[in-house]
Amino acid sequence: MRWLAEVHVSLRPGIADPEGQTIGSALRSLGYETVAEVRSGKLLRIAFEAGGSSDAEATVAEMCRRLLANPVMETARWELRADEQQDAEEAVPS
């Protein structure tokens, strides 16, 4: 079964994020004076095959632990869903 994970990697709270700060000051200079803080991060969209949802969940957790986020300075969270569109495409013979 095909799964789609959207993994969000961001710097841990308390770790300075100069990129986010710079984007924040750019927003304020455009007139968005109410912008209090911007934190930057990465979005990784991962399509992969796995069995059931607990399998898929465990696989994403392992990917994050082993490669996608460095626990020294980053945290990862993710949304996981069955890639129904892909499954449907594969089910229809062309």
Binding site: I15, A16, P18, L67, N70, V72
Partner: protein, 248 residues
């Protein structure tokens, strides 16, 4: 026992995107008369060497995080084994980033606080050289040395407990300083915690530093302080019969 002097054999790791390996090899062979050789990252063996260099550059394009992908190269397992056995390893710039990603040194290196790539000469204060005898044995506590830096992601970060532990253990061996040896925010080129430019592992054989000693080894390029690290290694190797005995 006869100690036979031999030319130090230095393995220089090369990842896709490494750019300082030729400078290390040039200095080792042309300036010092050593016997350096490059090793591609897909190799599973590091070869019969006296020390390993992880040079600067942008291994794997710095994608995901600096050093994050390089650490999984087959060669890194051999480097880890070499280090575990006490072999001297130096990681400069991107090499330092690889060492932290591999967990061979604590902490991480993040984007410079001002977001600029910084390429400049930088004064450094040497601390606790005895903690890294293979690499800093010829230097003294409080020495000022001047080396080039060239990085966009050199801001050393670790949690307070790790930083305290590093300092208490004498494992912070290089700090960004001014010409007089004073460590300050003004002298810090990237926002590193506590001005940290270089650290060593607990065993004392794995050194990571953001500056480039290989770019300061000939007067023609503006300075020779980098040679002091290489001379330290040479002397350390000479004083280690086991290294020489292997070649009898």
């Amino acid at each position: 026992m006869t100690v036979v002097a031999h030319r130090p054999r230095i393995a220089v790791a090369v990842f896709p995107g490494t750019w300082s390996e030729r400078d290390f090899i040039h200095v080792a062979s042309e300036v010092l008369g050593w016997d350096p050789y490059p090793v591609w990252h897909l190799e599973e063996r590091i070869g019969d060497c006296d020390a390993v260099v992880l040079p600067g550059g942008f291994a794997h394009g710095d994608h995901l995080r600096t050093g994050a992908i390089a650490r999984f190269s087959p060669l890194m397992r051999a480097v880890e084994d070499f280090a575990e056995a006490g072999g001297p390893v130096i990681g400069s710039c991107n090499g330092f980033q690889v060492l932290t990603e591999a967990g061979m040194l604590p902490g991480a290196l993040l984007r410079n606080d001002h977001l600029e790539f910084r390429c400049d000469w930088q004064w450094l204060r040497v601390e606790h050289p005895e903690s890294a005898p293979a690499w800093l044995g010829d230097l003294s506590d409080g020495d000022s040395i001047r080396l080039p830096i060239s990085h966009g992601e050199g801001r050393y970060v670790a949690d307070a407990e790790t930083l305290d532990g590093l300092e208490a253990g004498g494992r912070v061996v290089l700090r960004y300083a001014d010409a007089g040896g004073a460590v300050s925010d003004e002298a810090n080129p990237n926002g590193s915690e506590r001005g940290i430019a270089g650290i060593v592992n607990a065993a004392g054989n794995v050194l990571g530093l953001m500056p480039h000693p290989e770019r300061a080894a000939e007067p023609e390029v503006g300075g020779t302080d980098g040679l002091r690290l290489f001379r330290s290694l040479e002397r350390w190797l000479q004083g280690r019969p086991a290294a020489a005995e292997r070649r009898l």
